[in-house]
């Protein structure tokens, strides 16, 4: 039993639950709650994106597009057409999954920089459609979104949202950890290391890449829908290329192929601009410098780098045991 608790899976999940439960002690005002909710939403996207980038080894520079489709899909269906928010969210999610599947099949045949270009292009096209079709989306000005109501109960206020997003983040992490430890998850990690090696044991590499792509798109879309309802407003800024980059940076900053790393990366890089805002004009420059600096000095990401340091201190002589989670 104790061994089970100490395993990275169960232990990590418990630790995350404890952090989410105790964090409100430090959240002394609404503004802090607001940041915590944003962290949670970004973390959900990153946990999904990490399945694609960290585990399957396929880059995407266009995931803000899926986030945006989720946000605008919910906004348009629920606010313009008066659908029940949950039905709007569900329909949007299914549509995004279908789109990711259709586009993913040809795109994921590409490798490296070509894949980067294709996903970037996809994101930019989604961004441009959203800014141009102002009849539905409100164009550059954005669109107001009704609050999320579930059977008459209306979710409003940072505190309630904190618990909802916290719970959903736990679910997202649990799903991701399950997947990684399943035959499908091992297949993803295998094709990341050697595609030929994976194929010759019967793994359809293309199918698994598309699977990871669709799952990550769904995570992003759901987070987008939630973000739209939470803030009551969507603007194209959240769909822009730069937001895609921020998402990838969160994943890599936290540590690729580390689910908890993705959460840490989202937490740090969502909070950072709030701290940097104090520097006003220097904010953008400092953010760029932090991005460069961490990647140069910790190319493996924060969590794996720290884990390695910790491990090598604890057990100097014995050889490395087990692999990352």
């Amino acid at each position: 039993m104790l061994a089970r608790l100490a395993s990275p899976r169960t232990g990590g999940l418990l630790a995350l639950a404890v952090v989410i439960a105790l964090l409100p002690l430090a959240l002394t005002n609404k503004y802090f709650y607001d940041i915590a909710v944003l962290v949670g939403l970004n973390a959900i996207v990153c946990v999904g994106l990490n399945l694609l980038i960290g585990y399957a080894g396929q880059i995407s520079l266009g995931h803000a597009g899926f986030f945006g489709l989720g946000a605008y899909g919910s906004a348009i269906l629920a606010s313009r057409y008066g659908w029940p928010p949950l039905a709007a969210m569900l329909t949007t999610t299914l549509a995004v999954a279908a789109l990711a599947y259709l586009v993913g099949r040809p795109i994921l045949r590409l490798k490296g920089h070509y894949l980067a270009m294709a996903t970037l292009g996809l994101g930019v096209i989604i961004f441009m459609v959203i800014t141009t079709e102002d009849k539905y989306t409100g164009g550059p000005d954005g669109i107001a979104v009704v609050p999320l109501s579930i059977g008459g109960f209306v979710l409003q206020g940072e505190r309630i949202w904190y618990w909802v997003v916290g719970a959903l983040l736990l679910v997202a992490v649990w799903l991701a950890l399950n997947l990684i430890e399943s035959p499908a998850g091992r297949a993803l990690r295998a094709l990341h290391s050697s595609e030929v090696g994976a194929e010759v044991v019967g793994i359809n590499a293309a199918e698994h890449k598309v699977m990871a792509f669709v799952i990550s798109a769904v995570f992003a879309s759901v987070a987008g829908s939630l973000a739209a309802h939470y803030s009551g407003f969507v603007t194209p800024g959240k769909v822009a290329f730069l937001h895609s980059i921020e998402l990838v940076t969160m994943v890599v900053f936290g540590g690729m192929a580390s689910t908890f790393g993705a959460v840490v990366g989202a937490a740090v890089l969502t909070t950072l601009p709030q701290l940097l805002a104090a520097f006003e004009d220097y904010e953008m420059m400092l953010f760029g410098a932090v991005m460069m600096g961490t990647m140069i000095f910790m190319p493996r990401g924060v969590v794996p780098s720290l884990a390695r340091l910790f491990q090598s201190r604890r057990q100097q002589p014995s050889s490395g045991e087990g692999s990352g989670t």
Partner: protein, 261 residues
């Protein structure tokens, strides 16, 4: 009936014929060795037989199914497994997980089950782990049950690939130079391992330069030169074939190898 039938198989790279008009049959239950000088087309042939390369002409029929033009994973689905001369180990995993990946075809489950980790999947995973460990012991890797793949020595990695291939429960197993890079003791241990594979119902195709190993374990030998069949027959016959001796020991060996590079 033959397990694997290769008919008039050819593979061209640019204008060069790496494999040319090659036909042969492999009956079930044997150790079938493919030998030949460097550049004779042996690895190309294995890549054709696993769908990694698509043939320019000819057919590959396995267990009555025409697999020509299929993807590598489909070859695996029909029961062909292999190891690699240039290791294709999953270095981002533990050794045990490498073998567990080999169990993919038996273990695969629906996406929902994977995401929710159903009790049934959890039990299957447990059994999979046990079975992978058993296979590791079988190939002599009991000391590496909890090792990370990237912390293992070369000889152990070669065995790990054999264990992974065995985990797919293959009918036919292709071994690409399993003894290359091993020290003499390790190479000797391979004899028993390869010999025991047929006892598990696995037919073996062995590509190897180590003649002691080949002559010791083979039932049947195919000799390739310049991508063509030079000789074929029971081990004892091939060993005394003057053409084979010429190809291996004759003055043309070095030149022939160079020309095919």
């Amino acid at each position: 009936m033959s397990l694997l039938r290769v008919e008039a198989l050819s593979k061209k790279f640019g204008g060069v014929n790496a494999v040319e008009d090659l036909s042969f049959d492999i009956p079930p239950g044997v150790v079938y060795s493919i030998i030949g000088p460097n550049g004779a087309g042996k690895t190309t042939l294995l890549n054709l037989l696993t769908g990694i390369y698509q043939p320019s002409a000819g057919r590959i029929v396995f267990g009555g199914h025409d697999l020509t033009g299929r993807a590598p994973y489909e070859y695996a689905n029909h029961g062909i497994a292999r190891t690699f001369q240039n290791l294709q180990v999953f270095f981002n995993m533990s050794a045990l997980e490498n073998v567990m990946v080999g169990r993919y075809m038996q273990e695969r489950c629906g996406l929902a089950a994977a995401l929710l980790r159903t009790p049934r999947l959890a039990r299957a995973e447990h059994a999979c782990r046990e079975e992978a460990a058993e296979l590791m012991r079988y190939v002599g890797l009991h000391n590496y049950l909890s090792a990370a793949a990237d912390a293992m020595p070369y000889g152990a990695l070669k065995r790990l690939e054999i264990a992974r291939a065995l985990a797919t429960r293959p009918k036919l197993m292709l071994l690409d130079e399993p003894a290359a890079g091993l020290n003499p003791t390790e190479a000797l241990e391979l004899d028993d391992l390869i010999g025991s594979l047929t006892g598990r119902g696995v037919t073996v195709v062995l590509v190897e330069h180590n003649m002691r190993l080949v002559m010791g374990v083979s039932d049947h030998i195919l000799v390739l030169d310049y991508g063509r069949k030079l000789a074929e027959g029971p081990a004892a016959t091939v060993r005394n074939d003057p053409k084979v001796i010429e190809a291996y020991l004759g003055s043309g060996v070095a030149a022939a190898a160079e020309m095919h590079r």
